[in-house]
């Protein structure tokens, strides 16, 4: 039976009526019409669906709505067209993608890392992103973009 759930997403309280085991991903994409988190595997193996909750990067494809106990931030919650987040600016500046399907996961994993550890080293970044798969081979540009954003965020 569907139940009512209240979630705070990108600072806004939203209410949905769904089964308790519904993965957060489908609520974000279909009920809230947010595009950032993507379906990649449904198995928590690739990271395309990553969002931030409680300061951690989590896999929304394997997080049932009943386990969403804290505010959620998605890619859309980082910045706006007029005022993009330093990570978003840096990914544009470094042209850090080809197809861009994985990029939501890269930016959200980096967001959780830099919030936790603003002085993360390049090795820390590579380790934090090691569970995020990119098929186009944009890895080094992604790392450069995160380092660039880190500088701006520290300034």
């Amino acid at each position: 039976m569907p139940q009512n759930f209240r979630l705070t997403v990108n600072g806004e309280m939203r209410e949905v009526s769904v089964e308790a085991d519904t993965p957060l991903l489908y609520i974000l994409r279909n009920d809230l019409e947010l595009n950032g988190a993507k379906f990649g595997c449904g198995l928590a193996q690739c990271g395309a669906c990553t969002v931030v909750m409680n300061g951690s990067a989590i896999r929304s494809c394997r997080t049932p709505v009943s386990a969403v106990t804290a505010p959620v931030t998605t890619l859309e919650g980082l910045g706006t067209d007029e005022k993009p987040h330093p990570l978003q600016k840096a990914f544009i500046a470094e042209q850090a993608m080809q197809c861009g399907y994985c990029i939501n996961g890269m930016i959200m994993s980096a967001k959780a890392l830099l919030d936790r550890n603003p002085r993360a080293s390049e090795a820390d970044i590579r380790q934090a992103l090691n569970g995020n798969l990119c098929r186009c081979g944009s890895h080094n540009r992604i790392v450069r973009a995160i380092l660039r954003a880190q500088k701006e965020m520290a300034a």
Binding site: C41, G79, M97, I107, R135, H139
Partner: protein, 736 residues
């Protein structure tokens, strides 16, 4: 999968040997010289370009954006020829209702052919606009200056603009090829690093992917595939599935099964329930993976021979070197499983798809559904990178079947991860053998090369048959098209089988295997990856037999100045020195290829470290030199080259499709691991620009050489020569 009738086939083709020469393609190219690229097939200028009085240039290209940045580069070309700011260019996604038909966006061809067409169309549009402007201003076109679409006559106050005269200067006419494009020396937009037009939407989370399509009344679909290619559906009890929450329809047609539901998670739950309710007879029809190369080599083949006799035949070889190389089946392994949206819009079956070929897809969907062509419309929307023919086209027919099974309700269908890995057409397994004769002075005087491969092209759009997965599973199934080898120089299994080196007495035989025990089609580079891996590994083996430095040995056999230049640049930038001894763990290897033998020149040097304990190979650094002729967007080119090297490293070290007798077993990322952040090499790209020369396709050019550069570096590091891809730790450890 539909089995081919082998007897009929061998009757038609048995024993036939076809010899190709390089001439016909060149002759055709000369014929169409006045209308370059795909302009010859789509002559109407306004089918390419429209001047919007609002100050926008709308560009209709037949090329689709696959994340490779081609639409940005094509936009640069138009802005350059028209003298308008890049920001005024609006690249329209391909729509079979209104876009020029450029077939399939593949083969590193967008800039070479699509760019040439757009450049010529834009140059001619400019001439037409300037003629109209001159008439209006009472002068002649040569007196006019254009700046961002504003047209002035120097020394006077007379002025107009493209936007003002757009209505008077009709582009609704055929191109004649009479306008001369700008010389490269006048370029200000082409050749400059330009930010891609699609990236801001992607980092902000705006709707840009087909997955982000949202339409009123949208429902969600999923498919249930058979356990393997040949499985037969023996019973289905879908009564319980139909009663599941949100289920709108359960669709069955033969052994094609699908569900449509109100919500996505409901469609996924219904898919699982439907899969459980289906009983199948599952023949164990696949070959043994451990011996699949031997199995393939024993199948009947059509042999295509390229004989390239240079110099005196039969020069005595003092020493002979032979070797055999193998490449496994590879998956496209897109991060996002294939997706499509379909519905009936104004009585037209409308499909939003990330296909590489909207027109060919439309043709096959129409055939599979027995619809007239004009009742099917395909609109391109971006998807996850495809790297060739993955499930993109198949899921489009799935979506069409599901919308028809749900009374025309608009339905979005995305494959699940195991659908993609289990059913996408793979890149064929290949076997390559080399035999080289060396003269006393260490020159190659005989070169025999053989390659065995299944087809690399089973895309939709073939005149015969239907190349869409679900069509083979319908109650009245369609046959897939007969596979055929593409002629050189592009080739298929023999792509890059003919090396760029100047060998005497070359004999190259492409053993084309028409049968396909595993479903196969186009994967980035087609046979080029396997062939460059083999040819460039073998060059090192022959150099070693000659006691020569691998770079010097290659240069000795290369006359083409541009080929020499990339090799020398890579060697110089990497600080290549002959006769460096390895410490047993560190090594470096070189490789070179000219993609498709007519496109970009690429040479690279890879530095690797081998962990002798675990057998793990880490590619630390790659130095690459590229000559792609005239560069349109240097950063875009560099991005493609870097990406190709990283993807190629992943193919080389980690990847192979696995299968048991009755099914594909690599069905998720644990079963099909790819390179991760901790494993990617640093890539240092050196571009050699030739603004005075035509652009050469580069999107697939770096993948072949990296495999051989790694193999050669492992040999240098450890003394072990690896010839069977992939170089997994177990394999490397066993060899050491």
């Amino acid at each position: 999968m539909t089995k081919m009738n082998r007897r009929e086939f061998s009757f038609a083709m048995g024993g036939l040997v076809i010899a190709f020469s390089m001439a016909p393609a060149a002759a055709r190219a000369a014929e169409n010289a006045r209308l370059p690229g795909t302009l010859a097939a789509n002559k109407r200028l306004d089918s390419w370009l429209q001047i919007d009085p609002q100050g926008i240039v709308r560009v209709h290209t037949g090329r689709v954006e696959l994340g490779q940045g081609n639409t940005t580069a094509l936009g640069q070309i138009v802005a350059e020829e028209l003298d308008v700011g890049f920001i005024r260019v609006d690249m329209i996604a391909v729509d079979t209702k209104s876009s020029p038909n450029e077939g399939v966006t593949a083969g590193s061809n967008s800039i070479e052919a699509g760019g040439a067409a757009l450049r010529a169309a834009a140059a001619e549009a400019r001439a037409i606009l300037l003629a109209a402007a001159a008439e209006k201003l009472g002068t002649t076109p040569d007196k006019l200056i254009v700046r961002d679409g504003e047209i002035t006559v120097p020394g006077t106050t007379a002025k107009t603009s493209y936007w003002e005269i757009a209505r008077d200067a009709s582009l609704s006419r055929d191109a004649t090829g009479s306008a001369k494009p700008k010389p490269a020396s006048a370029h200000t937009i082409v050749g400059k690093p330009t930010q891609r037009i699609d990236i801001p939407d992607k980092v902000m989370g705006h709707a840009i992917f087909v997955q982000d399509t949202r339409l009123p009344g949208l429902a969600f679909g999923r498919v249930v595939r058979p356990p393997n290619y040949a499985a037969e559906l023996t019973s289905l009890d879908d009564a319980a599935v139909k009663k599941l929450p949100g289920v709108i329809a359960v669709v069955r047609n033969g052994r094609f099964l699908g569900v449509v539901a109100e919500r996505e998670e409901q469609a996924i739950a219904a898919r699982e329930a439907l899969a459980k309710s289906a009983k199948w007879r599952v023949p164990a029809a696949l070959p043994d993976q451990a011996t699949v190369h031997d199995y393939l080599q024993k199948l009947s083949t059509i042999d295509v021979k390229t004989v390239n006799e240079k110099g005196a035949a039969g020069t005595q070889a003092a020493k002979t070197v032979t070797a055999t190389y193998r490449k496994p089946y590879l998956a496209h392994a897109s991060i996002g499983p294939s997706c499509a949206v379909a519905g009936i819009v104004d009585e037209i079956l409308t499909v939003w798809s990330h296909t590489q070929g909207p027109y060919p897809l439309r043709a096959d969907i129409a055939k599979a559904l027995n619809f007239p062509l004009d009742r099917v419309r395909v609109i391109h929307a971006q998807g996850s990178g495809c790297y060739g023919h993955n499930g993109a086209d198949d899921v489009a027919l799935d979506a069409a079947l599901l919308t028809l099974g749900a009374n025309g309700r608009i339905v979005k269908v995305q494959w699940m991860r195991d659908d993609e890995f289990g059913w996408e057409p793979f890149g064929s397994a290949m076997t390559m053998t080399g035999k080289a004769g060396l003269s006393v002075d260490g020159t190659i005087v005989a070169w025999q090369y053989d390659v065995w491969s299944c087809t690399h092209n089973m895309r939709p759009g073939n005149r015969m048959g239907v190349n869409l997965l679900a069509s083979w599973h319908l109650e009245k199934p369609f046959e897939r098209a007969m596979p055929a080898e593409a002629p050189l120089p592009a080739g298929g299994g023999d792509r890059n089988a003919v090396p760029t080196y100047d060998f005497q007495n070359q004999r190259i035989v492409d053993h084309f295997i028409p049968d396909m025990p595993l479903r196969v089609s186009a994967l980035r580079t087609l046979g080029g990856f396997g062939n460059v891996f083999a040819v460039e590994s073998f060059m090192d083996e022959v150099a070693e037999a000659a006691g020569a430095d691998p770079v010097a040995f290659r240069l000795k056999h290369l006359k083409d100045e541009r080929a020499r230049a990339v090799l020398q640049t890579a060697a110089e930038k990497a600080g290549w020195k002959p006769d460096i001894k390895s410490d047993g763990t560190r090594g470096r290897g070189v490789a070179f290829a000219r993609y498709e033998t007519t496109k970009s020149y690429v040479a690279m040097i890879a530095d690797v470290v081998v962990d002798r304990g675990s057998g793990a190979v880490k590619v630390e650094h790659v130095t690459v030199a590229v000559d792609a002729g005239q560069i349109i967007n240097p950063d875009g080119l560099s991005n493609q080259i870097e990406g190709g090297i990283i993807q190629g490293t992943s193919w080389t070290l980690k990847e192979q499709v696995t299968f048991a007798k009755d099914r594909i077993t690599s069905r998720d990322w644990a079963g099909y691991p790819i390179l991760t952040f901790a494993e990617v090499p640093q890539v240092e790209v050196h571009l050699i620009d030739h603004p005075e020369l035509p652009s050469l396709g580069a999107g697939e050019a770096s993948q072949g050489p990296i495999s051989a550069a790694i193999a050669n570096a492992i040999r240098h590091a450890t003394g072990v020569r690896l010839r069977d891809l992939p170089f997994t730790p177990n394999k490397v450890k066993a060899a050491i």
